[in-house]
Amino acid sequence: MISQVVVLSLRGDTIISRNYRDDVPKNTAETFFRKVRFWGAETEGRSGESAPPVFNSDGVNYYHIKTAGLFFVAMAKTNAPPSLILELIQRVAAVIKDYCGTLSEDVIRKNFILVYELLDELIDFGYGQNTSTEYLKSYIFNEPLTVTTVAAPGKSASIFAPNTRSAAAATSKSVVEKPKKGVTRDEIFVDIVEKVSVTFNASGYLLTSAIDGSIKMKSYLSGNPDIRVALNEDLAVGSTENSPFAGDYGKGGGVSLLLDDCNFHSCARLKDFDADRTITLTPPDGEFVLMNYRTTHEFKPPFKIYTAVEEVAPYVAELVIKVRAEFPASKNGSNVVLKMPLPKATTRASCHIGPGQTGQTTEWKESTKEIQWSFKKISGGSDHALRVKLTLSEERVPNIKREMGPVSLSFTIAMYNVSRLVVRYLQILNKEKGYNPYRWVRYVTQSSSYISRI
């Protein structure tokens, strides 16, 4: 099991180091950092980035995740399961975040005593103990010192629309923080986050599409009351008898929301799920994922991308890219960035944005031979076009299309989800009348791998 847990900055400074067994050498943190930093450098001539999350060096096994600009690293000498250890250090990071409100190098440095106290409680002799934030409250005595100036404002909150920004900021408060000025604010956040992966072929035909969704919750309800979450009634899980939730429910025609698979947090009570698609739970403190789901069934991709390439003259080619936002006009896409690699023979690319299109920028990166087209905002239903003139160093580039692309698009659409999964209602059970805490239900769709091939 785990011999040591270390938290490192991306520069390699050891911020936290907790030894659970005295069986690894002293310099493991350095060894780890050197390995990760120069991974593949000797053999493949490239470095960094690609170190697998689990590797062995001199008899010590290193497990790591990278989050919030930090490495969380565990070391072990035995055949300790990486699935368990990676999940565990991920949880360690999450618990620290729950306690301190946010997670950053600064936060950990400021709260190092608390972090040590947490590490002692979360892991004993390398074995994961109870990691629920709720449970830990009775065993942790240090109080978190929140860092007031949280990174760049809007950076963490920006995935949600401006009107809920205050709510997003609220989620970065500590779960154990004492209410300020005696004002208690009971609230609960439910975020339905969907990550969309889509691949179009050159003619715009959908090759693969998938949604990885999750329902995240963060509860600040005092007294931890039971709540009930109701999802779409027409929800069906598993198209065949594969899924234990398949049941007969929703099979009688009119099924409109099909999931391939889903799983739940251990606090979820599912006795009514088959009957009416409701989940009852006692939300633990802190952030947790109530449900993960996944579907490869058809859905309407939020963006369509068209490209056309033509070699108009020797040494010159012309590229046209069109993007159409296929979601309701009331919604907006933000942080939309389109990237496309151009042929190696390209020496210059001049971009011309269509008339009347504002809030857009283009960039030609010569070193990577890539163009980037960024939008401040895209409203649903709108069309955008970009014309790019390519100057080539060769008279003709054979297979010019082969050397280009694929087009990749990254975006965030707030208050919209492609699967149409909804939280029909969120009911707080067993509470006296008049108790009406804030219930924030937010939807967001993000790109995971959104690709159009040329």
Binding site: E44, S50, V54, K77, P82, S83, E117, F125, M291
Partner: protein, 932 residues
């Protein structure tokens, strides 16, 4: 105010200040001081001198403070065991505190302090806490037993803690059960005795706890269930039934451990319908793991790779989910490729090929190459889809992207191997790209194709010729392929052009390169071609066995073992746990065994590892790692040396079928100089002036192997003869840091057929900085080399160093045997029977024999026997006759000389006159010694 400020105190006198603050009466100030100490500790500063002051703070009711002090204690107790004992009372007191948190904290901390004296005091509190009313204290105590076992297994046994743990499996609190399982499993791992065996009774209890405990506890329990052997199919079915709901857990580790348990029970379950259902149930959760963070995805993919090797149909319908995403990290993409290849079938190959083709245009060169390889591997695995694969490869070749073309050619070669004589029509396309090839592997592949299909490629000779122009500049891989391809061409088309090419290639390969593999292969071909071209055809053009794609395919036993280890590191590394877990431990060992601690005392190990008897009793881990390296060297040695001496001790590798012929091969080119020696030659001719009558005892023997060239190993030596045996009298001196032993020695074939006595140097041990002597007997009777020189190529190795080569000269005068003594009639008969062609003559103008009698004695000492003497009429000269024998030839000598006057003419007659030149060398030396 924040804890961060504690990091900022770096002023001088800091320690003194801290000391003062630690003794402050103000509790807040005291706490701050401890925090400062911990901060200093974290950044690596040594604050151990504050130990007594910090220990002083243990007497507090404040839990926060207590935790801080204990954190410090854990860190420094090792270095200050005597003061640490001061804290014992507090621990013992705390373990009886009314507050369960404090009781648990005391037990947890004591277990972390690996100091013998503290451990002694731990047992009683632990015993109590194991039966504590509070589950938090019990679950902490359960883990503490594992800690104690790590420090002292015998205490755990003697005090019966194992039974306590087993009782805990029935605890009402699931967290306690889970920790007891974890502790027992760890103890079992490190013990040879059966400690933790799940019976049907405990099984029931574990199953009950499984549904209640934390996700980590679920993993501990599930992992322990894997080892449970179900009594029958029904038993297995009931386990599976209870575990299946766990597949729905959001935690990847729980899912994988559940899959592991289910797969293990599937071996027992007989109901095929149920197995089918289980396969279907496992698929969606496995796929869902791919929605997690990339780190988890990687672990999941490595495991899925294993699972589908046994249960391929689990995921065949889900191949699409393994298509690479644009933003997947490389390590995820690579694993997905691997799985796509394994799941590819005739049904989905079109889709898969489309993907691969797309990947082959991506930016990451390494990934592109892997994608191209993947197409080839699909072609090899799926016979009916091979053509489709080849078409995609051809399309890729048309892109003319250099590395794509080269990779494609490499895989097409494999496809040709797999489906001989099926797809040669595409060779023309391949040939168009000849000039773009600049990577050795691609070149070698193309050359192989040309050679293999030489009869179908009209201009095969021209193509090869272009490569041959740069033969000497090519890498070995290409050279070897060129050599073979040219031979194939020649055998298929024995016309003038190819003949010239083969001549050139063989000459260059044997004479102008210094790669022994290449040279040897060229010699073999040469010999084959010159003795029996038909045999050469049988060898070179033989039908090759069909290949299959076995890359990344595991053998059944290993796969079985890995499937039992799903979720663990072994499943990610695809290696059995023994291969990377070095802490192999043995059962409880008693104190007396510790006396024989084979490890000696380590530096930092003293306090921790050495206090741990299990480590001491285990096989020293250090010895494990070098072992393969030694084996590898031995193999290398075998490869290098076996040809010369099949009887030698070095393992004869399969790769040396040329064992016997090598002797001939070295002399194949009869007129040529001695075979080139690849390694630097250490000594030139150390024996030239040596003579047995001038024993070298007083002066050091000539250097054979120079210490500066052999990592500090120096070998000096002379060849001597005693009691009818020829031997090297060798002095070894070792200027390196390590002891040298396990010497092995080999000779290349030589004129006298000498081989070293097997294990002749086996007992030799040369201490670091010391020296040792040995006599290495030269055993006659080996096949002599055809090129007769007095050079001896020697390879010597030991267990610590690589192989060293040196080439001393053989002092021929030591090699005459006692059997050289003939009676006069035999001599006369032989002399007369030998025709003039068997006669060689040499003049030694400087030689001067002062006295025939002394000379006769000298000659006799070297087994050259005086036969007769007659005066030459009309002169002062005399003619002397001598008989002698080298191991391979009887030599009759006639020397004409005048006593006291320089100038000796020597004439040698022998049935084997090739040895005459060697004998002349001996005669010259013997004459020279007579002159003095």
């Amino acid at each position: 105010m924040s804890d961060g400020k504690f990091f900022t105190t770096t002023k001088k006198g800091e320690i003194a200040d801290l000391k003062e603050e630690l003794h402050s009466l103000d509790k807040a100030k005291k706490k701050d001081a401890v925090k400062k100490v911990i901060a200093a500790m974290t950044v690596g500063k040594d604050v151990s001198m504050l130990f007594p002051d910090v220990v002083n703070c243990t007497q507090t009711d404040n839990l926060e403070m207590k935790k801080l002090v204990y954190l410090y204690l854990i860190n420094y107790a090792k270095t200050q065991p005597d003061i640490a004992i001061m804290a014992v009372n507090t621990f013992v007191k705390d373990s009886q505190d009314p507050n369960p948190l404090i009781r648990a904290l005391a037990v947890r901390t004591m277990g972390c302090i690996r100091v013998d004296k503290i451990t002694e005091y731990l047992c009683d509190p632990l015993q109590k806490c194991l039966k504590d009313d509070d589950p938090y204290v019990r679950k902490t105590s359960a883990i503490c037993v594992a800690k104690l076992f790590d420090i002292s297994p015998e205490i755990v046994e003697d005090r019966g803690f194992l039974d306590n743990l087993k009782d805990m499996l029935s605890d009402s609190n699931p967290m306690v059960v889970a920790n007891a399982v974890a502790a027992l499993a760890e103890i079992q791992d490190n013990s040879t005795k059966p400690v933790f065996q799940i019976t049907s009774h405990t099984l029931y209890k574990l199953m009950a706890a499984l549904n209640e405990c934390t996700e980590w506890g679920q993993v501990f329990i599930l992992d322990s269930l894997v080892k449970y052997e179900a009594r029958d199919a029904r038993d297995a079915e009931s386990i599976v039934e209870r575990v299946t709901p766990r597949l729905q857990h959001a935690n990847c580790a729980v899912v994988l451990s559940s899959v592991k348990v289910i797969l293990a029970q599937m071996d027992v379950i007989t109901n095929t319908e149920l197995i089918r259902t289980l396969c279907k149930k496992m698929a969606p959760p496995l796929v869902t793991l791919l929605s997690a963070e990339p780190e988890i995805q990687y672990v999941a993919l490595r495991n899925i790779n294993l699972i589908i090797q046994k249960w391929q149909n689990i995921l065949t319908n889900d191949i699409k989910v393994f298509f690479c995403k644009y933003n997947d990290p490389v390590y995820v993409k690579t694993e997905k490729l691997e799985i796509m290849i394994k799941l590819a079938s005739e049904r989905n190959i079109d889709q898969v090929l489309l993907e691969f083709k797309e990947y082959a245009t991506e930016v990451d060169v390494d990934f592109v190459r892997k994608a191209v390889r993947a197409i080839g591997r699909c072609a090899i695995a799926l016979e009916r889809s091979a053509e489709a694969c080849i078409n995609v490869l051809l399309e890729l070749i048309q892109t003319k992207v250099n590395y794509v073309v080269q990779e494609a050619i490499c895989v097409i070669k494999d496809i040709f191997r797999r489906y001989p004589n099926t797809y040669e029509t595409i060779i023309a396309t391949l040939c168009e790209n000849l000039d773009t090839l600049d990577e050795p592997e691609a070149k070698a592949a193309m050359i192989w194709i040309i050679g293999e299909y030489a009869e179908r490629i009209d201009n095969a000779d021209e193509l090869l010729e272009t490569f041959l122009e740069t033969f000497l500049d090519e890498s070995t891989l290409v050279q070897l392929q060129l050599l073979t391809a040219t031979v194939k061409l020649f055998l298929k088309r024995p016309t003038e052009g190819p003949q010239q090419m083969i001549q050139m290639v063989l000459n260059q390969a044997t004479q102008e390169t210094d790669n022994p593999d290449l040279r040897d292969r060229a010699y073999i071909y040469w010999r084959l071609l010159s003795t029996d071209p038909e045999a050469a055809k049988d060898v070179v053009l033989a039908e090759k066995p069909t290949i299959s794609d076995d890359s990344n395919q595991l053998d059944a036993d290993l796969l079985h073992e890995l499937l039992q280890n799903i979720g663990t590191l072994a499943s990610v590394y695809h290696k059995p746990p023994d291969a990377f877990v070095s802490r192999a431990r043995v059962a409880v060992t008693r104190g007396e065994d510790l006396e024989e601690d084979p490890l000696g005392s380590g530096e930092e190990g003293e306090a921790s590892d050495m206090a741990d008897p299990t480590v001491a009793a285990a096989a020293p881990p250090a010895a494990e790692t070098p072992a393969p390296a030694v084996a590898a060297v031995t193999d290398l040695m075998g490869d290098l040396m076996a040809p010369a001496a099949p009887s030698a001790l070095a393992p004869v590798p399969a790769a040396a079928p040329a064992a016997d012929p090598l002797g001939d091969l070295l002399g194949l080119d009869v007129s040529a100089a001695p075979a080139p020696v690849p390694m630097p030659v250490a000594a030139a001719d150390p024996f030239a002036l040596m003579d047995q009558s001038q024993p070298a005892a007083a002066q050091p023997k000539p250097i054979l192997l120079d210490a500066s060239k052999a990592q500090g190993l120096e070998i000096r030596g002379v060849l001597a003869r005693e009691g009818g045996v020829v031997f090297w009298d060798l002095d070894f001196s070792n200027q390196s840091q390590s002891q040298l032993s396990g010497f092995q020695v080999q000779f290349n074939s030589n004129a006298f057929g000498f081989t070293p006595k097997p294990n002749g140097l086996a007992d030799l041990v040369v201490p670091p900085g010391g020296s040792a002597s040995a006599k290495l007997h030269m055993m006659p009777g080996g096949a002599p080399a055809t090129a007769l020189t007095n050079m001896l190529q020697v390879a010597i190795k030991n267990a610590q160093q690589p192989v060293w080569y040196f080439t001393p000269t053989i002092a021929v005068e030591q090699c005459f045997t006692e059997e050289g003594l003939l009676d006069r009639d035999a001599f006369l008969g032989m002399w007369k029977s030998l025709p003039d062609v068997n006669e060689r003559t040499q003049m030694f103008p400087a030689a001067n024999v002062p006295s025939v009698d002394t000379f006769t004695l000298k000659m006799r000492a070297h087994n050259v026997y005086f036969m007769a003497q007659r005066p030459v009429p009309g002169t002062n000269q005399i003619v002397t006759y001598w008989s002698s024998k080298l191991p391979q030839a009887v030599l009759l000598l006639e020397m004409t000389l005048q006593v006291g006057v320089p100038g000796v003419k020597c004439c040698i007659k022998s049935a084997n006159p090739d040895y005459a030149p060697l004998a002349f060398m001996a005669v010259e030396k013997l004459l020279a010694s007579a002159t003095n």
